[in-house]
Symmetry: C2
Subunit: 256 residues, 2 copies
DNA sequence: CGGTACATTGAAGGGGCTCAATCCACGTGG
DNA sequence: CCACGTGGATTGAGCCCCTTCAATGTACCG
């Protein structure tokens, strides 16, 4: 699945996290070094293993360096809702880990490389590297905004709009970290996972994708998704990418 | 609507926000004073007026002192999704206000008293009052967790489970700020608003409420909701209140 | 070559929607 | 004091989107 997401990266290259944060605040050499150190102690998590288990206690966050994971909850009768898809450069553990017992589980969809970040270190950042801290804080805000968008998805959008919105959001997020080109990418999820993320059944995800294909909005060749008409698709989905970028604290921190 | 939510409060009494945060970290006299100052510059917002308008730019957050407001988005064709219900003591503006243009609108459902809190002040807190800052940060985490819970609601729960979960969450939140007793409270929303929050139509909200009444799980007399069987209702809704409390950073900050 | 994981398609049913009417409480002005 | 308007709750009928269940196809892998 999505083999190029797993391609080996040199430790000296900018990590996805650095890329993301550097778009917000122009990082100093020192800050970049701090970020690199932060991500040096990595751990491998095999495909389908849990990175965080609901109900357990954690003393830190993780940063996903490589791979794809999902945050989810399963109800008592087995229904599952995927809350978010975690891509390289994303934090793993917000907000559930701040609670006494983790609220949600996070599982690796592919083999993953993660680095951990103790809470104490995070708190220390607010004093020593306020600009980094703010950027991290932005990252959390962004994640919350995605939840809100997903809420609109499942609450008020039809299956067609939902899937369209999902494909566009994923495209944008993958582009930010350099894992997608202008209008195509490898889909890291199966149709079952897409269904669990969007509150749809597998057959209906399938039919909906077909409809998008028939209307010539997207093309799907194997795992590869090609968005053939970004304009029309965005209109259909009511997609407005601003919730994935454009932080304003940037200005405030300029003088720090 | 919910007249007692609007009852006049003396400035010297603990505000809802103080109450909420004090449950997390035992606040010092100084910190309480800071919180009080923070909320001293208040503004009145009339019923049905917008507190925050989507697309506009803001340089601060607000704290809701009194009243009820909703965060929402309306799609191009008029469908509306309510993302969250803001109760006294809640912050208004996270996460949308951190973006260059506010992502969502926030409207006062009742006459509201709000106080504003410039970003600069918020950032300053991380240096001067780290424990307060952490408590505020917790508040954001809690809000994100609520989004996640709502996502599970609309994604994977039936209408009956959804409404049950909604009633329980509201009860718990109102209890925290002293606006609900053990098992009853004034419902601040109309059925139309409940529908827009849960992704249901008005008639179906009505039918669902009736069903809950017929099954003797809740009683509704006018605006007053009485939860007659918390146990059974919680089981039905898969409700687990831990996402509304129990922050663990508390320990970390004990020595600060 | 059989097994597993996933995609695809069909048929039938139901949960929730739309549309529409009615009811009720309340406030307001003649 | 009553007629009327308004906002909200309630109820019914018909329908459609999406689900469930089930079968089939297909690629890959040990």
């Amino acid at each position: 699945m999505a083999p190029q997401l797993l391609s080996t990266r040199q430790a000296c290259l900018p990590t996805p996290l650095t890329r993301k944060l550097a778009q917000l605040v122009s990082l100093t050499v020192e800050e970049i070094a701090v970020l690199r150190d932060l991500q040096s102690a990595t751990r491998l998590v095999g495909r389908n293993r849990e990175i965080i288990s609901e109900g357990r206690k954690y003393d830190g966050l993780f940063v996903l360096i490589e791979g794809v994971s999902i945050r989810y909850r399963v109800l008592h009768d087995g229904r599952r809702q995927i809350l978010n898809i975690t891509l390289p450069g994303d934090f793993i553990g917000f907000p559930g880990c701040f609670f006494e017992n983790a609220l949600y589980s996070i599982a690796a969809l592919t083999d993953c490389v993660v680095s951990s970040m103790p809470f104490a270190q995070l708190l220390g950042f607010f004093e020593t590297y306020p600009r980094l801290a703010a950027a991290i804080f932005w990252s959390f805000s962004c994640e919350t905004a995605m939840y809100a968008e997903h809420l609109i998805d499942v609450g008020r959008r039809s299956a067609l709009e939902r899937v369209a919105h999902f494909l566009l959001e994923l495209a944008t997020r993958l582009q930010v970290i350099g894992l997608a080109d202008e209008c195509s990418y490898q889909m890291p999820l199966t149709q079952e996972l897409i269904g669990d993320a969007l509150g749809l059944s597998v057959p209906h995800v399938n039919r909906t994708l077909r409809q998008l294909r028939e209307e010539n909005l997207v093309a799907i060749e194997g795992q590869r998704v090609v968005i053939k008409n970004v304009e029309a698709l965005s209109r259909l989905a009511d997609f407005e990418r601003s919730y994935l970028g454009r932080f304003q604290l940037n200005d405030l921190l300029a003088g720090t």
